[in-house]
């Protein structure tokens, strides 16, 4: 961690408020960022973090208050002004164009010209230099963005920000798409930047990251600063208290145990190099975790089980009956449910009402002589949403309007409506704030207690260690370890995820 010097702050935010018709999204926010500091921004969904970012980056105009960059007031509502003053933002949904090369993307919008024509050689050179500065010389400036992995795309985004003079870099949940290895690399990059005096605002839901990378923390709740600039080594429980406004006793509910028969059996499932010879069992009442690095094959395995992709070998049995491969409809009929990794682009129809989203997988139930009954649909959907504490639980709302955590509940509601036997959840708490996370954990354990079998894929090993009955670790397409939940720790799971001592699948009980 770099030592922040006590000179004029790079960014000062004083008394900001932002009024939307009917809603006061920001209501008195104060904090500052010093040069060379990593300042973390915490807060539950709806607290106003993204609105605040938009104010600083100029995408949105303030209703009250002022923002100072390097001591000078920032003209509000002008993104170009913010950019000029050196404020750059890396969004969660990266602002890159897939069909351009790395060099083109880095200079998109501020290309370098020479005698009226694009100076491609120079842009290429500077891109290479930037990538080196970010410790990623391996990314080729001529590679197409679409061919890069998400972590690499993120680096390109950062390089893009750096290609113009930057004083303040805002990073919105950068670790959401990364695995642990890549997060370490990212932190290295961030530290380098701070060494050059750049200030960084780092937004994340992952409390464990704060002390690792941050210098100070500001906590937002309901549009105002609850705590401004407190040290980053403040205990997580205190941070959660500040965010949620009350003591949160326990993150994880009681660990579920197997209660019944085998509901899902996977035997020798294989698909090219992505999934190799995967076999495991899930009993009713269990929550099985699938951990590993990005690219280990966890999502691919779930997709094979559910039938979204065709396996080259192997079979899946649900309650003892063989499932025809490659047909999601058959999987659903057999009692499987699948909540995909990207709930916005794969899970929900964002422009549809909640009711229609919830009933989509089970429309047969609402038919009377071939005609649907919308009222019955709405009632059933509302009931499910209420059970999951969804806010708002108005089934006529449009899915797009809900926060990440609530959207996830809508996806879960869909499968609960169908009374599944086995639930496959891919990154269920990604992009979800702490309060909602705890709720989702409770839902999962309640479901297990009710007799479902649940398989959870997650990149947060700590999450798996706290939640699951058993954790399977994957590496390079194989299941390389099975660890009993009570004995699992983030560390030993990570050990299995990265080490290459044992290529063959291993059943291991850690003492």
């Amino acid at each position: 961690m770099s030592v922040a010097t006590a000179v004029a702050p790079v960014l000062e935010v004083r008394g900001i408020a932002k009024q939307y018709p009917g809603v006061r999204a920001l209501d008195g926010v104060d904090f500052d960022v010093r040069p060379g500091e990593v300042h973390c921004l915490l807060g539950p969904n709806g607290a106003g973090k993204s609105t605040l970012i938009k104010c600083v980056s100029g995408a949105v105009a303030l209703s009250e208050g002022e923002i100072l960059v390097d001591g000078e007031p920032l003209p509000v509502g002008e993104p170009s002004a913010s950019l000029q003053r050196g404020v750059a933002t890396i969004y969660q949904e990266l602002d890159l164009v897939e069909d351009l090369t790395v060099a083109q993307s880095v200079f998109l919008g501020h290309e370098i010209y020479r005698r009226g024509l694009l100076d491609r050689a120079r842009m290429r050179r500077e891109t290479v230099a930037l990538l080196e500065r970010l410790d990623h010389p391996g990314i080729s400036p001529d590679a197409y963005v679409r061919n890069l992995r998400p972590a690499q795309q993120q680096i390109v985004s950062i390089a893009r920000a750096l290609s113009q003079r930057v004083r303040l870099l805002i990073m919105d949940e950068p670790s959401a798409i990364l695995d642990d290895n890549e997060i370490d690399t990212l932190f290295g990059v961030v530290r380098r930047l701070t060494e050059d005096g750049v200030g960084v605002i780092y937004i994340s839901h992952r409390l464990d990251e704060i002390p690792r990378i941050g210098d100070r923390v500001t906590v937002l709740s309901d549009g105002h600063t609850v705590a401004s600039g407190i040290p980053a080594d403040t205990p997580p429980s205190r941070l959660v208290e500040l965010m949620v406004g009350r003591k949160v006793e326990q993150m994880f509910p009681e660990r579920p145990t197997a209660t019944g028969d085998v509901v899902l059996e996977v035997r020798g499932l294989r698909r090219g190099r992505e999934v190799r010879d995967a076999s495991f069992e899930v009993r009713a009442g269990e929550v099985i975790g699938l951990g590993g690095l990005v690219g280990a094959g966890r999502t691919e395995l779930l997709r094979l089980i559910y039938g979204l992709d065709h396996p080259t070998a192997g079979e899946v049995l649900v309650e003892g009956r063989r499932l025809p491969a490659g047909r999601p409809a058959a999987a659903i009929a057999a009692g499987l449910g699948f909540a995909p990794e990207d709930r916005k682009s794969q899970g929900l129809l964002l422009d549809w009402s909640l009711a229609k989203n919830v009933t989509l997988a089970d429309l047969g139930r609402f038919r009377r002589r071939a005609l649907l009954r919308p009222r019955a649909e709405r009632l059933a959907a509302t009931e499910q949403l209420r059970q999951l504490n969804t806010v708002p639980d108005d089934a006529d709302r449009i899915a797009r309007q809900l926060s990440g955590g609530n959207q996830q509940k809508v996806v879960l509601a869909r499968w609960l409506l169908r009374h599944c036997r086995v639930l496959l959840l891919d990154e269920p708490t990604r992009g979800v704030d702490v309060g909602a996370k705890a709720e989702i954990y409770r839902v999962i354990t309640d479901l297990a207690a009710a007799g479902l079998g649940v398989v959870v894929v997650s990149s947060e090993l700590a999450e798996l260690a706290g939640l699951c009955t058993r954790v399977l670790v994957m590496r390079e397409g194989r299941i390389v370890a099975e660890v009993d939940g009570a004995a699992a720790t983030e560390l030993n799971l990570l050990h299995h995820a990265v080490s290459d001592t044992d290529p063959a699948p291993v059943q291991e009980e850690t003492p």
Binding site: S50, L349, L360, Q401, L402, S403, G404
Partner: protein, 326 residues
């Protein structure tokens, strides 16, 4: 990334008179208003000829042919696809019927339906299983169907003056209402029920809304995509029967640019070109709008340029209204 707090953007807007409407309903109301406006304008500009039952039935009857096509097109567009070939396919279906016209009316009907389903099936196969982009596949069919029509008919129209049953479809009446209108309205009602009140219809719109999400939710995407183009083919056949009946001839040169009229009607009706949002009522009103404009401008004997400009302006306006609602 955090989202705007839920209260900021309600799903229903409040209108005067205590009504409320979702986005698509707003489009339908607006269009209904436009239709009423056109009727009023017509009554004022052409008091003797416009607003009488004879002319109104005339307008509806003319709207029937493109109307049936537009209904089929609504399903196609709801899945995010498009069908540029319906006009040429009408000619091909009519010609197919004409070739077997010697064997009587039933033969004609079967011939037209058969060709419509066949060509629709070819489109469906190319798009659903051959993974050809709908624009390209139907563009190819656009020229192929016209070629088939010209080839089968040897470039000459076949008179079907003697086929009373077929002519009845185009020109007959049931208690004073032209049978073409009855067919159009019947097709509209069936389509409405299918789209809004059946599982099939829900699946169709799901495919257009988010194909991957639909697939994950168990929708058989390929089958749905296949089916909508076959549906379009059936609508083509119906349209071909209506127009041939009225012309008393199976001609290979008809159907020119019908697809653009159908698509325009669907678009101003409020169905999203990108899929995921569809309205049969909107399409019906859209068809009516264009038919009224054509009728009024012809009654006033205005040059066709005026008609074309008016159509274009209305399409633009409709799209802008849709955009604002987003």
């Amino acid at each position: 990334m955090t989202t705007v707090p839920p209260e900021a953007a309600p799903s229903r807007r409040s209108l005067p008179f205590g009504l409320s409407a979702s986005r698509i309903e707003l489009q339908e109301y607006t269009l209904a208003l436009v239709v009423v406006l056109l009727v009023i304008v017509g009554a004022v500009l052409e008091p003797d000829d416009f607003l009488n039952s004879d002319n109104m039935l005339n307008v509806l009857r003319q709207a029937s042919v493109v109307g049936v096509l537009a209904i089929g097109m609504t399903f196609v567009i709801a899945t995010g696809g498009i069908d540029l070939s319906v006009g040429s396919m009408v000619a091909a279906a009519a010609v197919a019927g004409g070739q077997v016209a010697d064997s009587g009316s039933l033969a004609f009907l079967l011939g037209a339906i058969g060709m419509g389903v066949l060509l629709g099936g070819v489109n469906a196969g190319m798009i659903a299983y051959g993974r050809v982009v709908p624009f390209i596949a139907t563009l190819a069919m656009f020229t192929m169907a016209r070629g088939i029509a010209l080839w089968l008919s040897d470039k000459t129209p076949v008179s079907i003056f003697q086929l009373e049953a077929v002519r009845w479809f185009g020109n007959g009446e049931v208690i004073g209402v032209p049978s073409a209108i009855i067919v159009f309205v019947a097709v509209t009602i069936v389509a409405w029920v299918l789209l809004n009140r059946t599982r099939y219809g829900r699946h169709v719109v799901a495919v257009g809304g988010n194909r991957e999400a639909a697939r994950i939710a168990g929708v058989k995407v390929q089958r749905i995509v296949f089916s909508v183009y076959v549906l379009s083919g059936i609508c083509v056949a119906i349209a071909a029967i209506l127009v041939s009946g009225r012309l008393a001839s199976a001609s290979p040169v008809i159907g020119n640019l019908y697809e653009l009229d159908a698509i325009a009607a669907v678009v101003i009706g409020g169905t999203a070109l990108s899929g995921g949002r569809a309205t049969i009522v909107g399409t019906f009103l859209g068809v009516l709008t264009f038919a009224l404009i054509f009728n009024l401008l012809t009654l006033m004997d205005l040059p066709t340029e005026i008609q074309q400009i008016t159509k274009g302006v209305i399409i633009l306006a409709a799209v802008l209204i849709q955009r604002r609602e987003r």
